[in-house]
Amino acid sequence: MEDKINPPMPYSEILPAYGHGWIRDLFRDANKLQANAEYESVKRGMREASMYHLNPQDYDRQIDQIMRDGLAFQSIRRVKAGGGFSHTHQDGADLGPDTLVYGVLARDLDVAAAIVKASQPDTSGDADNVSIGELLGYPECCRKAFAEFWKTTYDPVFEIAKNTPGCKTDGNTITIEHGDPRLYVHFRYFGVRIIPWFPCSFNCEASVELAEKWSALMYDIDPETTEALLGILPMESKWDLLNSQIVVNHPYFMGRATSYYTSENKIVVFK
């Protein structure tokens, strides 16, 4: 991991461009849609399992639904709730309004148990990310790449860009001209993404193939929000990291989020 300083409190926020206040509503809807799609992907058999959070304000309804849908849940650990987006989970202590239960939603209890087991830190302190990725149905190339990215960063936007065939590099700026916007993960700080995994590159063929299914699933759940997302993702945007803070510039909003520390700018331009 790259942090050589105490990281700032996790934070993510957007500023809509003037006249585009609607973007806040879209992002809220997108956040819900993403969570629904993760759940539905398991329920509909698109994959075997998904990571899942039991919410203290809603856990009765969530458990009812899981039981009704014939699915299984296994907890991994208690984590702190609130504060919006966070790259990694912070341990929660006692159950209560400030604690979520982080775990696995699965079609089969054995799969859930396997993911729980793979999530336990090994001697180096890391989970078995390759096995987890496989059980979650992510492409093989992306699982392998993620395991490499994770050795140095928990926020691999720059690394994915660097790994993208055809990217243009100028110093610390990488330009992506032929990426598939459905693979973009630099709006995820604000609740916006199509695929729930980190692709190995922004035009990874295996990810594009799966992204097709994910966007179809999202469209089936909420066509209006999905169309809006597929409208804003391809627009030119810039991801810019410095001093543990990311700035994402888009014609409709400016987003800010916390990330790992780097003293030199790292920039990815999505054309």
């Binding site: 300083i5 105490n6 700032p8 409190m9 934070y11 926020e13 957007i14 500023l15 809509p16 461009a17 003037y18 206040g21 806040r24 919006g84 410095l242 001093n243 543990s244 803070q245 700035v247 909003f253 400016m254 800010r256 916390t258 520390y261 003293s263």
Partner: protein, 363 residues
């Protein structure tokens, strides 16, 4: 706009100022509408104006609505040349009107303060001496802010002081201030208070202003609440819903690591971030440091055993937030706005939002 104004006004720490554009260019009926609205809420009003126009009707409104006037002026006419029309003849007329209007306010015994922008035009060499002399005669209550040029602007940067020049200008102003108890020169007076812990931290530029929410709030024509207009250069006006202290938290460990004055500076105004990047410390770091160092030396020269805010770890975040102070010697001339809020209010407030002060804007 009025609904938003009323919401803001619920927080007694928020000063409400009719800014511009040029507020006195409003039709009298409209100006009175806004002054009346603010006066109803606060019993007083504040405006910031170039004072290029002034009528008997304006004076009547100032008296009726107990108006505190801030004039945007950078010194005597030749030092104020960056303000007003570009055409020399029209600029001369503008300067003449301004001087006449300031005199008229004085004759009418209507007090005013000034905001002066320090630039290469008025704050270097002999011009700096003339500015300081003029300020003590014409604007005994004044704020002296560095000219701030948006990073994208192609030509204006030629007028912006270097950090070293700003340091010299601020120290010269501080010398004049320390010799003249009646000269309420800001940020000098505020920074003395910051050093001795008579807070709250002022002004906004040293109070860890968050770039996405900003301490200064701007009410837009449609009533929406925007950020400080220093941020408008990026083309994003609206405010974020939550504040963050990420910038200060990181700067404290990196660009500002080990700085003696970090707790009472916070890396400065994010709008002045190096390279136009609000994540970085202010481009005027040398001047901020220089003024604090000068003032600390003078204070300790006078009172070698004084305990200062810097001597108490996390003074403003912990000690002051509990309603405690280490020194009770500091009191501004106009009193109440420098007093800490009552402890029960302090505990309810977000730390960053508790550190309020005057305006560091570039007006």
């Amino acid at each position: 706009m009025i609904v938003t104004l009323e919401e803001i006004s619920e927080d007694p720490r928020e000063a409400i100022i009719l800014h511009g554009g040029e507020v006195l260019s409003l039709p009298i009926k409209d100006l009175e509408f806004f002054l009346k609205a603010v006066h109803t809420l606060r019993g007083e009003t504040h405006i910031q104006t170039s004072l290029s126009v002034l009528s008997s009707e304006h004076i009547r409104l100032f008296r009726k609505y107990n108006t505190n006037i801030g004039i945007s002026v950078d010194g005597p006419p030749d030092l104020n040349a960056l303000r007003g029309p570009r055409d020399p003849a029209r600029n001369a007329e503008y300067q003449k009107n301004l001087i006449a209007n300031m005199k008229r306010l004085q004759d009418e015994k209507i007090p005013f303060g000034t905001i002066t922008i320090l630039s290469k035009v008025n704050a270097t060499g002999e011009n700096l001496d003339r500015l300081i002399e003029w300020a003590q005669v014409h604007a005994n209550r004044g704020r002296f802010n560095p000219m701030f040029v948006p990073s994208w602007h192609p030509t204006l940067s030629q007028y912006q002081l270097s950090p070293s020049e700003l340091k010299t200008a601020w120290i010269r102003l501080a010398e004049a201030t320390l010799e003249n108890p009646g000269f309420e020169c800001l940020p000098v007076r505020e920074w003395v208070d910051n050093l001795i812990g008579c807070g709250p931290l002022a002004c906004c530029i040293v109070a860890r202003c968050d770039y996405l929410t900003t301490m200064c709030k701007t009410i837009m024509p449609d009533g929406s609440l925007a950020r400080c207009d220093r941020c408008f250069e990026q083309g994003f006006y609206l405010r974020a819903e939550r504040a963050t202290q990420a910038r200060a938290d990181v700067l404290k460990q990196t660009e500002c690591a080990g700085c003696r004055y970090f707790d009472i500076c916070g890396g400065g105004c994010p709008g002045e971030g190096e390279g136009g990047d609000p994540r970085r410390k202010t481009v005027f770091c040398e001047a901020y440091y220089g003024l604090y160092e000068f003032l600390e030396t003078r204070i300790k020269g006078l009172m070698p055993n004084i305990q200062m805010a810097l001597d108490v770890p996390d003074y403003y975040d912990d000690f002051y937030m509990k309603g405690q102070r280490i020194n009770f010697v500091g009191k501004m001339q106009n009193g109440t706005w420098r007093s800490p809020p009552p402890p029960d209010q302090l505990q309810q407030q977000d730390k960053s939002q508790n550190q309020k002060g005057g305006c560091g804007c570039g007006r």
